[in-house]
Amino acid sequence: MSDQPHGEVVLRVNGADQVLAVDNRVTLLDALREHLRLTGTKKGCDHGQCGACTVLLDGERANSCLLFAVAVDGRTVTTVEGLADGDELHPLQRAFIAHDAFQCGYCTPGQLCSAIGMLAEAAAPQDLDDAEISERMSGNLCRCGAYLGIVAAVREVAGG
């Protein structure tokens, strides 16, 4: 244990190791946004109540606002900036554009990471019907009301 209210962490973010000296109070969300300037991950409520900050932590979706950066030392983080393969968008990113699955775009990074995590959770993603996709995506609020497009985009990528 350190007697200091700060520590050093190594995060593997979008494939690259990042060494950060952070105040223990810094959340993963703020570490990404303020320290690494990866501002794609959004802060909507800062309390796990909206899903805008969703990232993939070791491949599982998680609210980055509820994780202290020091507590995820050594873990692998994928943010929205890490979804595309260079200029080649992830199929879900393409589907979001095609289905107009966003308006203001602020919840979108969280929706994308959440959906990718959700599809990985599902034993048979192609069998998910719209109601199941809706339920499983309900941790991501969209105030613009783009839910229909989100479900359509996710279903397309799920292969159902």
Partner: protein
């Protein structure tokens, strides 16, 4: 031609890659972080702000309060006069601001600030018997506060059936996913603000007034905005605080309101109470419409929700009276929220029409058709394309309304009770003054700049389509900066019409100038700046629509599920069918959310909004939305605005809550007149 087609959003790729930059994300070096301190009394005076404990942390640079904050010039909107006086008008008002080198230190500093108050009794209950109610002369949009035509009392006396009902809607909050966020710095006497707002020019004017500098000396940048819905129409108190912190420290300052702050440091929608008295003859003809609407404003600024405005336009009657009353409550000044006035007012009117239909034993659709006016019932002006009857009849066909048995509470299958309901929608069409500049370069390229903002409406894409069509080749479109000139906010469903009108005029003029040059562009290019103008008086201009809703209600618990909500809308020609459709659906989603979930709950004793986060202020989740359809009628109405279309952004929400409530009544036999339709209200009925 690209206009009218469903081109995908220009910024779509940036948004799905996380590259689209919002106000707080503009990279600045050496930034400080600002954290507001909220008043903890409902009314009173700040006696002392003790910042000693906060300042003990070396990371805390300064603490601003009413004693040391820079002086601002009195503004029209008193909410913006942050830290200019010790007066506390509502709980949650900004009474101090902590400025620190990290957000963590700023937050903790704000916790350490001790504020002492001389507390006064507060008044936060909207009460029709309140002896201090005011009769405001004007609604917020400038319309008269009261309206009367004919003799309502005589009309009611002549009626076969009189319906007298009270409908209420609670305070609501926009809750855009991005909270109010600002990155501000001063460069000499020039203020630069990357701000999450709904109109950079209007924001620049607002900041300029407060700081007593011309708006040209303020550069407001709104590259991308994470939703607005009315919450970010003018400089919010938080944004003002950020500019003050930047002024005092000489460094760039960043502020992002917490979700909790948003409930008292940015506006919400007023609670409303509408008493409707409708008189009708047996055949359904309305003999009188009397709408007595009550709403509130704060003690420091008058904002009058236009709750009764839609009542002027909807149904034919010789006797029409609309009164607005205003209570002054110790609550944050409410302001516009998606379809201000029309959203709560049409919940009331369209619920009342449904009740009247039952009282008359008429189909709710037939009752509306029986009262279709030839001209605007209040103004007597001809309609510039109404099409409400088309919306109702087309919607009824698509929905299968004709097969409906009107008997309430009789369709039970297993645990579920099923029902259907309809309601109309209306929203005024506006076109405001805006400025746009179109430029041709010698290399044949074009660029267009306009102080528009895309808060998710698709405005960037629509304006690009418009300009590209007019100039005949793809343009570079620049929006989101106050330096592009006078432009209205994204609000009142008028943004695209106003900005687009200016773009159209500028592009058309540029084309003429080009023709004058024989098609050749001079070495220094050609540039034309043009304006759009308000629509001339003399016609009643509105978009109309109709919602048809099917619900199921759990007979054991009272939980409501919307199975289907079908909307048919007549809004003129949209610039982009895809984003227009998304706007309509988005409004309907918010309408379902309003019907079933949304309310900002007031604790009368503490003078406080209690449920100030997204776990407690419920908005619809993905799982709450099923079976939504929006259809647009092809009714060009080309004479309405310079871009052809009327407003779209608010049309989807208006009436949606009434359609849900009417369907819930049909399913259960219980009429819920107070939103939201909670399970205890249903069970209590």
């Amino acid at each position: 031609m690209t206009a009218g087609t469903g081109l995908s959003r220009l910024e779509g790729r940036e948004k799905v890659m996380g590259a689209a930059r919002y106000a707080y994300e503009h990279p600045v070096e050496d930034a400080l972080y600002v954290w507001p301190v909220a008043a903890t009394v409902g009314s009173g005076t700040v006696v002392e702000v003790d910042a000693a404990a906060a300042l003990a942390d070396p990371a805390v640079v300064t603490v601003l309060d009413h004693t040391n904050a820079p002086r601002l010039r009195p503004a029209q909107i008193a909410d913006q006069l942050v830290l200019q006086s010790p007066a506390v008008a509502w709980r949650g008002q900004i009474v101090a601001g902590v400025v620190a080198t990290t957000p963590e230190a700023a937050r903790e500093g704000a916790e350490q600030v001790v504020v002492r108050y001389a507390e006064r009794p507060h008044h936060v209950v909207l009460d029709p018997a309140d002896p201090a109610l005011e009769l405001p002369g004007e609604l917020f949009g400038g319309q008269p506060g009261s309206f009367a035509k004919g003799d309502v009392d005589a009309g009611l006396a002549a009626a076969d059936v009189v319906l007298d009902r009270v409908y209420t809607t609670p305070a609501q909050h926009h809750n855009p996913m991005e909270t109010v966020a600002t990155t501000a710095w001063w460069s000499g006497e020039r203020l630069v603000v990357h701000d999450s707002n709904q109109g950079p020019w209007i924001a620049a004017v607002g900041f300029g007034q407060l700081w007593d500098i011309p708006p040209e000396q303020v550069e407001v940048v709104t590259e991308h905005v994470g939703g607005g819905f009315g919450a970010k129409v003018r400089p919010t108190p938080g944004a003002v605080l950020a500019t003050m912190a930047a002024r005092v420290t000489g460094r760039p300052c960043k502020l992002m309101l917490t979700r909790q702050h948003m409930f008292t440091m940015s506006p919400g929608r007023s609670a409303t109470r509408s008493r409707f008295r409708l008189g009708a003859r047996r055949d359904g003809t309305l003999t009188a419409v009397d709408h007595d609407a009550l709403q509130y404003s704060s003690p420091i600024h008058e904002f009058v929700e236009q709750t009764g405005l839609a009542t002027r336009t909807m149904y034919a009657t010789d006797n029409l009276r609309i009164i607005h009353r205003l209570a002054r409550l110790n609550l944050p000044t409410p302001r516009v929220m998606r379809a201000p006035g029309h959203t709560p007012g049409m919940f009331a009117l369209e619920s009342a029409m449904d009740e009247l239909a039952y009282a008359l034993d008429l189909d709710p659709l037939a009752l509306r058709l029986a009262n279709e006016p030839a001209v605007d019932p209040a103004s007597g002006e001809p309609f510039a394309g109404r099409h409400l009857v088309d919306c109702l009849t087309v919607g009824a066909d698509r929905f299968g309304w004709a097969a409906r048995d009107p008997t309430p509470g009789v369709r039970r299958h297993g645990r579920w009770l099923f029902g259907t309901g309809l309601a109309a929608s209306v929203y005024p069409a506006y076109q405001r003054v805006a400025t746009a500049t179109a430029r041709a370069e010698p290399d044949g390229s074009f660029s267009v700049s306009v102080g528009a903002v895309d808060i998710g409406t698709g405005a960037r894409t629509a304006l690009w389509q418009l300009a590209t069509d007019l100039l005949g080749s793809p343009v570079e479109i620049h929006i989101g900066r106050s330096s592009y000139g006078n432009a209205p906010v994204a609000g009142g469903s008028s943004g695209t019409a106003s900005w687009g009108g200016a773009v159209r005029n500028a592009c058309t003029a540029l084309r003429e100038r080009l023709a004058g040059h024989g098609g050749a562009v001079p070495a220094d290019g050609l540039e034309v700046t043009a304006e759009s103008t308000p629509l001339p008086p003399g016609r009643s201009r509105h978009s109309f629509g109709a919602h048809f809703c099917a619900v199921r209600v759990d007979a054991d618990t009272g939980q409501v599920r919307v199975d289907r909500l079908l909307g048919v809308f007549a809004h003129g020609r949209p610039l982009n069918a895809r984003t227009a459709h998304s706007q309509l659906i988005g409004g309907m989603v918010m309408g379902v959310s309003m019907a079933l979930h949304e309310q900002t709950v007031v604790d009368p004793r503490l003078g406080m909004f209690v449920n100030h986060d997204l776990a407690q202020y419920h908005v619809a989740t993905n799982a709450d939305i099923h079976g939504l359809e929006a259809h647009s009628l092809e009714r060009p109405d080309d004479d309405i605005t310079l871009v052809g279309g009327k407003g779209i952004g608010e049309l989807g929400i208006v009436g949606a809550a009434a359609a849900v409530a009417n369907a819930v009544h049909h399913a259960t036999g219980v009429r819920v007149r107070d939103l939201p339709i909670t399970l205890e209200r249903l069970r209590g009925g």
